[in-house]
Symmetry: C2
Amino acid sequence: ILAGHALAQGPTEAQLAKSEELARWALEQNLGYEIVESLTTEVGARLAGTEAEERARQWAVTKLKKLGFKNVRVEHFDLPVWERGLERAEILAPYPQALVITSLGGSTSTGHQGVEGDVVGFSSLAALKAADADTLKGKIAYIGEVMTRTQDGSGYGVAGAKRREAAYVAKEKGALAVLIRSVGTSSHRFAHTGQMRRVTSQPIPDGVPAAALAAPDADQLERILASGKTVTLHLLLTPETRPAGRSGNVIAEIPGKKKPEEIVLLGAHLDSWDMATGAVDDGAGVGIVVAAAKHLMDETKRPERTVRVVLFGAEEVGLVGGKAYVEMHKDELKNHVIASESDFGAGRIWRFETRAGEGRVAAAQALGHGVRMLGAAPGGNAASGGPDLLFMRGEGVPVVTLKQNGWDYFDLHHTPNDTLDKIHPADLAHNVAAWLSFVYLAANTGEYYR
Amino acid sequence: ILAGHALAQGPTEAQLAKSEELARWALEQNLGYEIVESLTTEVGARLAGTEAEERARQWAVTKLKKLGFKNVRVEHFDLPVWERGLERAEILAPYPQALVITSLGGSTSTGHQGVEGDVVGFSSLAALKAADADTLKGKIAYIGEVMTRTQDGSGYGVAGAKRREAAYVAKEKGALAVLIRSVGTSSHRFAHTGQMRRVTSQPIPDGVPAAALAAPDADQLERILASGKTVTLHLLLTPETRPAGRSGNVIAEIPGKKKPEEIVLLGAHLDSWDMATGAVDDGAGVGIVVAAAKHLMDETKRPERTVRVVLFGAEEVGLVGGKAYVEMHKDELKNHVIASESDFGAGRIWRFETRAGEGRVAAAQALGHGVRMLGAAPGGNAASGGPDLLFMRGEGVPVVTLKQNGWDYFDLHHTPNDTLDKIHPADLAHNVAAWLSFVYLAANTGEYYR
Ligand SMILES: [Zn+2]
Ligand SMILES: [Zn+2]
Ligand SMILES: [Zn+2]
Ligand SMILES: [Zn+2]
């Protein structure tokens, strides 16, 4: 129906109906799950800057070409590469026992002898900050603080602060090392890793060696500290950083028919942490956006605008791929009509959020027509769009968020337990259906959202 | 009411009423949980024959004396001690990645270089047995087979066969090593350990090195094998066995007033696997039986019969403590009126089972009066009584089982995830209440059950 006349301003009734029809159809498809299965099985873990992430890019290029995408390419960029090494913690006194820990991304090394010290407990990062300088000389600082389980993931920002800052604050206080209760919501015995300060082109100051305890081990340490006994601990962390590594963003397109220069960007990140196959973070996102774009290609006429899928590299260590994309595509950003990234697991979508210019919110909300039909509520106009879109958003690119239910996401996030079996295929299909209806509308209307 | 006359034959109405009253009262107590908390915090993991198990015995002796038990003592015995060492598995081809594994108890070592071979998959132990001798020369055998989740734990016996036998069968077929899908029911990324053949005084034939894969890693391996590609794997297991170690049973009593020579035995095992603090296996059992006996001591008149608490050592590696007990107490076994062990986690009790002589079943079922009031059904007369009672049972000691709900037990069993937070205090109190009502009746009636 679009063929014979100029691009309509908003979605037509026929387009809205088509977006619903596509969503219903996609609920019965399994392609998204097949893509995650392929990535997590054939590549597995894929830490930023490593040979494994390079294999993930090769996988992506092969897969995207095979699916029929055009202009499939890799845009490389450089970054320092942090690798984990050994990680061990042992209570020496009063009750000798090993604890389950994991190094935080970017942590410095204790050296191969490790460090030994008495533990001083704090209930929060703020409490550690309030300690006098040098009062922790020769000690190991520990920060507790239980993360709040929420549907929208809002507990993460609060809990994440101690992960990002503890090593640097502890250093100011003269500590030997710092331990934190994992930023996560499960009580399974997995420690949650995650980056401290973001990798950037600027050097990061050295913090003390830093690791997270699994929740049951944090409980254990807190019980012993609460008894008033002095806890002496040995900590061994031997991560290493190579200054020069390579990562890259993988890009694929469905070229637009009428306005090929206008871009609707669908993103996900290809890298994962090193301890698991990264099924929910962010294999799911890769499966969702690639399947949605592939269905658009096969089940609809060629879109009016170009649909660009970007699988970002090196998200986990500091949104490095998102930043590189903006630098490499500066001149083109004005043509990015709207963008969104899927990076919050495989839970169903319950809210459609926008970040559009004044007077353009209703037009942007119209893109969520099919998403709302699937059960999502309309959200506000403060969408993040996804982590890798931070810099793009800063350059004025409008974004939407198809907000997933994150109730269980932080049970798995950045642990060895983030594996394929945690994804429910029907939930993943629900996501693909929502994204398909969204991208169909975004790529076939004449609206702008700035 | 018993003081003035001879021991009644069966429980009196007043005793039945008292057993109910005790059970109701105990539901509100927290002592069982406090005991598990103390053991798992202050000792932690306590592998048979190690210094950690020795610390557990010291903990038990101190705790039992402090609680007011009499005749607190340790009965030592010797056994070989197997210790884990390193454990790593890596797929080299077609899709390089690490797998989460754990050595099976009693496994031989691969040597520090490890072994490398192509994987041959089998769907069951029977399928491996059916392979021709020497057809696996230079290969690594893998056995799948998913364990069935059941309330009564009956899936364990079936699934456990491959754990017990795979290493020896694989050796006959010429294999380099054997891997099994973990004997367990969760899909969290923990491999489940467990003993292969029981440690006995007889030497065990050497099997090939043997390890279990976490369920998500078993899925992963099976997916790749199903694709038809050749899977090449590197396996490193470096366990060591010391021929002479020491374990022991810790014994404590409430001496009987009228018939001190007649024994009602309450058991649990003190050792655990090495990877976790052994909260559900079998810290819970320790908490349950010690708390029940302590409540009996404090809340009732001194029992007519002796109540003996036995915390067995070295259960996990082959019921070594249960066997040693029978050898050391041979002459006394005829006076063991009835016995039961708590070793199936911390789930609520749903069935009261007996193993009594002909014509004595109704009398034995009467001991479950208070247990049934708490919601348990009467069970059959084929109770095991608990693993450490195997040899005692063989010598004619009547047993009962206060059967726990094992629905979730094998999610945690023999994994690093068996920690205190997995126990629900109210469920543990339910167990203590049931055991208290049982031991009250068993120690104060004049019935026999042979
Ligand atoms: Zn992510
Ligand atoms: Zn992440
Ligand atoms: Zn046990
Ligand atoms: Zn066990």
